[in-house]
């Protein structure tokens, strides 16, 4: 436009002539600039708090961080983080197994078999499940599993509650990635006379696998970071998680250490240091899981293109 404007300034065509092009009024330029500046400020306001948050946590955690906390046992309010780390991993893996199995079956059924009204209802159910506040899940888990079914605080109720929490994420990614498998794959398998189940396993699921893995990793990142549903189902203890005592024995996990050992909760220097250490370990877990998920997704995209 600047060329046209320059032409106007050299007294080219006058208003009414063919090829007349009016200059851009200064008001428009200013309002345009103001709008995009506001957008740039908004972008900065998205990025800045995240940087502040990460830097703030890391800056407080690192000066007192020793690698030994990773393998030292927690002892009351001091020591290391061994049991909480094991507990977080156990709960997450358990949720991936139970929630993952249900989610993959659900996603498979919704894309391959269901249709019409049942599909709408079943899909609506898991999407609505995603909207339930996690504390409500925790409360229901406590009332139904720990009290009514007399399981007490333990690994089993914790894993069940976290499974319900992860179902929407894994199901969604399974459904999306199955829907993206080209229909030519299915038709080709059918034309070759490959039985449905074999085609499903060897061709359709295989093509959808990277997307599903990404979903699993994202769900794991969310499971690792949950606190509210675990407080009243896993409770806490300094026992290591045990696969033979899944009820009536509290399970330690990292988010509890951040929540319960921080300077606003307890006046103990050792505990406060542990709280920040746990936050650091949690962030590392989440970072690794999300970046791994992106890598798998990028790898799969390169392979298909």
């Amino acid at each position: 436009m600047s060329g046209a404007q320059a032409a106007h300034e050299v007294a080219g065509p006058r208003p009414g002539d063919a090829g007349y092009w009016p200059a851009v009024p200064r008001r428009r330029k200013i309002s345009n600039f103001a709008f995009w500046s506001a957008c740039a400020i908004a972008l900065a306001l998205v990025v800045a708090p995240t940087v502040w948050l990460v830097v703030g946590i890391v800056a407080r955690a690192v000066p007192n961080f020793h690698w030994s906390v990773l393998w030292t046992r927690t002892n009351q309010l001091s020591g290391g983080l061994l049991q909480p780390i094991l507990g977080t991993i156990t709960i997450t893996v358990g949720a991936m197994v139970i929630g993952g199995a249900i989610s993959v079956l659900t996603g498979l059924y919704l894309t391959e078999f269901a249709s019409g009204r049942p599909r709408g209802i079943l899909r609506g159910a898991y999407e609505v499940l995603a909207g339930i506040p996690s504390i409500v899940l925790g409360f229901v888990g406590y009332i139904a599993l720990c009290v009514d079914l007399k399981l007490g605080f333990g690994l089993l109720p914790a894993v069940l509650v976290i499974s319900v929490l992860t179902i929407p994420y894994i199901t969604k990614s399974t459904e999306t990635s199955l829907a993206q498998v080209p229909s030519g794959y299915r038709e080709g398998a059918e034309a070759l006379g490959i039985p449905t189940s074999w085609a499903m396993r060897k061709i359709v699921l295989k093509a959808a696998l990277p997307g599903m893995i990404t979903g699993f990793l994202v769900a794991a990142a969310i499971a690792v970071g949950e606190t509210a549903p675990l407080l009243y189902t896993a409770s806490f203890s300094d026992q290591s998680p045990s696969l033979t005592h899944v009820t009536h024995q509290g399970v330690p996990y990292l988010t509890y250490v951040v929540w319960g050992f921080n300077p606003n909760q307890v006046q103990s220097n050792a505990a406060n240091i542990l709280s920040y250490d746990a936050a650091l370990v949690l962030m590392a877990f989440v970072l690794v899981l999300i970046l791994l998920g992106r890598t798998v997704a990028a790898f799969a995209r390169r392979n298909t293109e």
Binding site: C39, L43, L122, Y142, P168, G225, L287
Partner: protein, 361 residues
């Protein structure tokens, strides 16, 4: 085994075989046709629905006695307190056992939930949409991808860590450096006088609202960005050809094109803000008995009350305090479900593309 001489069992010849082999071949055939998979999948797919109904049923059963006893007072009283003192006794009113002298009014909880979420939307939504526009229309592709990773990481940061930062770094910072200045200089006129008065200690409505804004930004910004990317180029080129500036095109063509989707994303963010627990519990100050007088005062939300008060509710021998918390949970669940279903309905009806689930990752 004289399999070499036995007739080959065709689809109809299975009747000649002994029962175990007939059963085996039937199962094999079912597996081949995918019927087992279909059946298993059906069982799996019903579980989320059953879980949803189970959650609703458990909450309803737990809350019914509390609903009967509290009645409308639950929504008009603002005192949340267990039965008072050492001489509290278990009494029975209307067939419901509870402690004498207890009172469960949820006005501060409900008001706190709604006000903190409103602050989160007022602050977070313009920032998210502006950032999404800047990412799509202004940033080079490579940088836009980097910001995308950034948003995904922000969405993945555990809320307890955001709460830790909010309670020990962010809250004290704004209480020392920002809120005193605003509180002193705000004119004493309606609406703005909520910004006057005691600047607080960094735990309260404003901090909770801002923390929630940080938590909904990834959902709203990432969804808006994806929606804005889908706007076709032709209408935008048409707008430019008609002499609109970039900013006018963005405001009058691009954003209206996807407005229903953005509204859906905002409502999804609202659902997240309403239900967020741990981060808010760490920065709200948990004030159970009064609606805050200004924007810096300590407050509470439904979820923060549940998570911080369930422990002491166990001490109520009549079990009524836990039922009252069940009623709170039911109220929260109904609010968030209505918001969620409305968002999905809105987006499906208008644009045909579905919203992301949960945190939008």
């Amino acid at each position: 085994m004289t399999s070499s001489t036995a007739p080959i069992a065709g689809p109809d010849g299975a009747a000649d075989l002994p029962l175990p082999r007939r059963a085996g071949s039937a199962i094999r055939a079912a597996v081949r046709r995918g019927e087992i998979l279909r059946w298993l999948g059906g069982v799996g797919a019903v579980i989320p629905l059953l879980a949803l109904l189970f959650i609703l049923a458990v909450l309803a059963v737990e809350a019914v006695p509390a609903i009967r006893l509290d009645g409308l007072g639950f929504f008009t009283k603002s005192v949340w307190q267990l039965g008072g003192g050492y001489n509290a006794q278990i009494v029975t009113t209307d067939g419901v056992k509870h402690l004498s002298g207890d009172s469960f009014g949820a006005v501060p909880e409900i008001a706190g939930t709604l006000i903190t979420s409103a602050i989160a939307l007022i602050v977070g939504v313009p920032i998210s949409i502006g950032a999404a526009l800047a990412i799509v229309e202004r940033l080079p592709r490579r940088l836009a991808n980097a910001v995308g990773v950034f948003l995904e990481l922000l969405a993945g940061i555990p809320s307890v860590i955001i709460g830790l930062w909010g309670a020990l770094t962010f809250g004290p910072f704004i209480a020392h450096h920002i809120t005193p200045v605003i509180a002193r200089n705000m004119p004493d006129v309606p609406v703005l006088n909520y910004f006057r008065g005691a600047p607080g200690y960094g735990e309260g409505l404003l901090t909770s609202g801002l923390i929630l804004a940080i938590m909904i930004i990834p959902i709203v910004a990432a969804t808006s960005r994806d929606l804005i990317r889908q706007v076709p180029i032709l209408p935008r080129e048409g707008a430019i050809a008609l002499g609109m500036s970039d900013a006018q095109t963005a405001r009058k063509v691009t954003l209206p094109w996807v407005s229903s989707g953005i509204i859906g994303a905002v409502v999804l963010g609202l659902a997240r803000a309403l239900g967020e627990t741990i981060a808010v519990a760490m920065v709200c100050g948990v004030a159970l008995t009064a609606v805050p007088g200004n924007i810096y005062a300590a407050t509470t939300t439904i979820s923060a009350t549940i998570v911080t008060q369930l422990d002491s509710a166990f001490t109520d021998g009549s079990g009524f305090a836990v039922r009252a918390i069940g009623e709170l949970a039911l109220v929260l669940m109904v609010i968030t479900l209505v918001v969620n279903v409305a968002a999905r309905w809105l987006v499906r009806r208008v644009s045909g593309t579905a919203l992301p689930v949960g945190r939008g990752v």
